[in-house]
Amino acid sequence: MINVTIEKKLKGYHGQQVIKVDHQFTAGSVTKIYGPSGSGKTTFLKVIASLTKPEKGRIVVGGITWFDAEQKIDVPTQKRNVGFVFQQYALFPNMTVRQHLEYATTDELWIKRLLLLGKLDTLQTHKPEYLSGGQQQRLAILRALATRPKLLLMDEPFSAIDPKMKAELMAELSVLLKEMEITTIIVSHNPQELDGWATDELVFE
């Protein structure tokens, strides 16, 4: 179970606003987050990963406090073991597909399985600049899974993937996430694409 109660100030197009979230994420659930642009969806994911700090609140994951503003507890990103799929992929230009995964894990069998899952096994020696948008996005997803996280945060993870590939990938991801009991939070501009997969939702105003 993940309990999140946070307040975070955000500078937006219309001046300063405050993101307030009070939500429980069930272990192993898939939650879709949607809402208008600039409502703080990406910032919320970054708060959970400790890539940005909220002003108030608590984040408790499986009984362990990751963040508590009052008690000044803030577990660093490196110790949270969250998988993060960035909206702009954030792939490393100097690394090949395989090197991205090797940077995250030394488990060779796991790397092989991930490459097959993302259908990138034939592109192992390619650097991101030689991959299509969809291939880059798949690599970003594989890299996020490489550390075997217990919590997977995905920011628009399927926006560049064609519909056929998306359906296949989502089906296989769904099996993998269940098998690994990963709790997943997905930000999407197109929440319908997650119908039938997401078990919970959170709407940002």
Partner: protein, 223 residues
């Protein structure tokens, strides 16, 4: 022709550049992260040699490291080290003088990388140092190489600072630029021309090499 000023110059530039890689690159990384008034002041101090007359910098270094008083006296009494009129003094002055040529380009290049690159590395459990070494540094290779070559070339061309703190001691502090000046003073234009031509050729080849490398890098990125 006495080639010792050329070898001394290359030795000085090599040692200075190596020290600047070790000191200047991590320093540029520190400056590139976050903003504070303290960092602005530090950056301004590092940048001063770009705008200060070299003789001013040399003059203050000469005063600071004079073995008669202050730090210079303490260094001589405690460690038997003398920075004035010595090769180590030239190295110290060169590191300070060429610091902005290493720190400036590296800092700018690091700031231009998307923040999400480092963030992605942190989510994979990597420390700040691992991220710097494996993700940030390899992705600023052209800027890093430019900074290294500029620092080296700039040290080759030092004159004012070197003359002030090192003087003109053959085999110890007489670098090529001083040898050119010394030869002209003695009306030995042939030697001055030889030293000048060697310095000109080395720096020209270095600058061409950087341009070719950067062009090759740009081409390989375009596929």
């Amino acid at each position: 022709m006495d080639l010792s000023p050329i070898w001394l110059t290359l030795k000085l530039a090599g040692i200075t550049t190596a020290l600047l890689i070790v000191i200047g690159v991590p320093f540029a990384w520190w400056l590139s992260r976050g903003k504070s008034f303290f960092k602005i002041i530090i950056e301004a101090i590092i940048t001063m040699p770009l705008v200060l007359p070299p003789s001013v910098l040399g003059f203050y270094l000469l005063l600071a490291f004079s073995p008669q008083h202050g730090i210079g006296k303490w260094l001589r009494d405690s460690f038997d080290v003398q920075f004035v009129f010595s090769f180590q003094g030239l190295v110290l002055a060169s590191v300070i003088y060429s610091m902005p040529f290493m720190v400036g380009p590296v800092k700018s290049a690091l700031q231009q990388l998307p923040a999400s690159l480092a963030e992605a590395s942190y989510t994979l459990g990597k420390s700040q140092w691992q991220t710097f070494k494996s993700v940030l540094l390899p992705n600023i290779k052209p800027s890093l190489l430019t900074a290294i070559v500029l620092s080296f070339a700039h040290t080759l061309g030092e004159f004012g600072v070197v003359l002030m703190i090192g003087g003109n001691i053959p085999g110890v502090t007489r670098v090529a630029s001083i040898a050119v000046y010394d030869s002209v003073e003695k009306m030995d234009y042939a030697s001055a021309n030889n030293y000048s031509l060697i310095l000109f050729s080395i720096t020209f080849v270095l600058v061409i090499a950087v341009f070719v490398f950067n062009k090759y890098q740009a081409k390989s990125h375009l596929g």
